[in-house]
Symmetry: C2
Subunit: 344 residues, 2 copies
């Protein structure tokens, strides 16, 4: 069967509707019994030998033409190989009622659950395709699956969501505990036991109760701001120290730290995992600590990911059995986005 | 016992030599039976209560004074807690014959093997201390152990080396295989079997012999440069494509790719691990592939690490049981530096 290409739309007649749409979910039926196909769908039918040509072009020529995105084709093929029906989601290509934009991300494919098709209206995934060097705005994540095509044409699927961050960790803070500010940490010479023991603030210099407690600048700023810590120069002095050490990043990290604590979650440094924080949602006592559940990286709200850095964070989190979460900070607002690997 | 501080050197008399040096490896004996100590050593003796004061200062005051680096103290204490004797390595503090600089890195502590001390002259580690926000020049790594003190005063020890990168993978390349350049990859429509099957170049579009082979731009550039691939515009066209996609990074990555291939090592994309390459040292046949041994990140020779990014790379590599290696590229030269976690 041959098809034609006009204004970016492929058109096939004869029994194309029956062969391709009804039985295998390609394309979109139009009046008069013909079938319209997006170029990427036509490319796949050419690849499979179901179409002979599109405007006289073979698979090789059509794929390498400007009509078809090579990365979109690779993802389309991969999802088909995995047993899914899927529809290109741009413009008029999607059945009524299915959104074509999710949270500001341009969706490339609407993928139906296995066993379903475009006629059912059920959606398994909204997939956005990205080449490995295409910057991905952090704020566009949360409702989509990102399909990243790497330089060797392997595809990495990343599921994104907007999680509820919540926990049950909280203590009544002490008042005016004396602390001393050093270059990049604060020392509390006589800490009340519950500050570390139940609040999990800081780290003991030695593993002994009553020993000097070290606080990170973030912890010191948070506690000083609430009157729990008394330090020369007050919270302003701690903030100055923090900004000296890391500029704007400090304020962003403090905002995220504060919101986590307010939600009953304990943030500790994520340094060993290359993240900002590792977090514990249910801390009653430090002696009875489980594993941290999340790794958090704090970013400016307008951050754009290099897909490879996303892959790195997600791979590491998966390897240590934690969930990767990004805190997107804009002034006082924090939006939480989780990213994890998906095998569709 | 009280000690004095003059010109950055602490001095103790009485039986300090016997109590601190002879029996526990602190300081440096001087004429007349006195003992000289670096401030960090004196701070530790104050902390332990072995010294009462230095220039009238208690531990708290001395530690927070300008005389002592808080991060150096934390590392010194940690290594002492782990059972090591160690000497500050700056200036005149090291026994004759022990180098105080290793490959351009300023060494902070010379650490002796457990059971040895400064009088033995054996060295277990040369340790450089860094706060987590201190940039670390990549070129300074290779002969030292980096002790990174994070914001919560935990210490991460990273062992660095200059590995020999070698392998036994190599095939006689075919000549003039026709390939087509797309935006960010090349397609070989009729690949000779050994290109993928034994050379492990590219990736098959489907898992079938004789199927179209996809090459990354790096692979295509390498093969075109050697006359193995015939592509319109030659290797120049491939280079242009690569530079379009990633600027100078492409040339650096190509240099590293080339050197790996020349050493008999097969580089494949490291995207899923957030690295540039994963490498296989002994590829005879693709059907019989073991696990890749190294993860490689390609950097400019003058790159400076944020310690946290180093921690991330090393943690991930460890989690997937591979060695983390950095390729430092300066024009045609590549230097190889491996970094791994160490528990001293």
């Amino acid at each position: 069967m041959d098809a034609t290409l006009t204004n970016g739309v492929v058109r096939a007649g004869q029994n194309a509707r029956e062969r391709f749409y009804d039985s295998r979910g390609y394309g979109r039926p139009v009046d008069g019994g013909a079938l319209e196909l997006a170029p990427v769908e036509a490319a796949h039918l050419l690849y499979r030998g179901d179409l002979n040509s599109v405007d006289g072009q073979s698979f090789r020529t059509f794929l390498t033409s400007a009509a078809v995105s090579e990365t979109a084709f690779l993802v389309y093929k991969d999802l088909r190989d995995r047993g899914f029906y899927l529809s290109p989601a741009r413009g008029a290509w999607v059945a009524d009622g299915v959104a074509i934009e999710r949270g500001g991300a341009a969706v490339d494919f609407v993928v139906y659950p296995r066993g379903s098709g475009p006629w059912d209206g059920e959606v398994a995934y909204c997939v956005a395709v990205a080449g490995e060097r295409e910057p991905v705005p952090a704020a566009s994540l949360g409702d989509i699956v990102l399909a990243v095509v790497d330089e060797e044409s392997e595809i990495t699927y990343l599921e994104t969501a907007r999680p509820d961050i919540e926990g049950t960790s909280a203590i009544d803070l002490p008042e005016g505990v004396a602390a001393e500010l050093l270059d990049e940490r604060a020392f509390v010479w006589n800490p009340p036991a519950e500050l570390y023991g139940r609040g999990f603030y800081g780290q003991r210099l030695d593993d002994q109760d009553g020993e000097v407690l070290q606080l990170s600048l973030l912890e010191a700023a948070y506690l000083a701001d609430r009157g729990a810590l008394a330090v020369t120069g007050g919270v302003e002095a701690v903030l100055a120290c923090g900004r000296d050490a890391e500029g704007d990043r400090f304020d962003r990290r403090l905002r995220a730290y504060t919101e986590l604590r307010e939600r009953g979650v304990v943030p500790k440094t994520g340094f060993k995992f290359g993240a900002d924080f590792r977090t514990y949602a249910h801390v009653e006592s430090v002696d009875d600590l489980g594993h941290s559940e999340l790794l958090v990286r704090v970013l400016a709200a307008d951050h754009e990911f290099a897909p490879r850095d996303l892959a790195l964070d997600v791979r590491l989190a998966h390897g240590v059995r934690k969930e990767m979460v990004f805190a997107l900070v804009d002034g006082d607002t924090v939006e939480w986005v989780s990213v994890g690997r998906l095998t569709p």
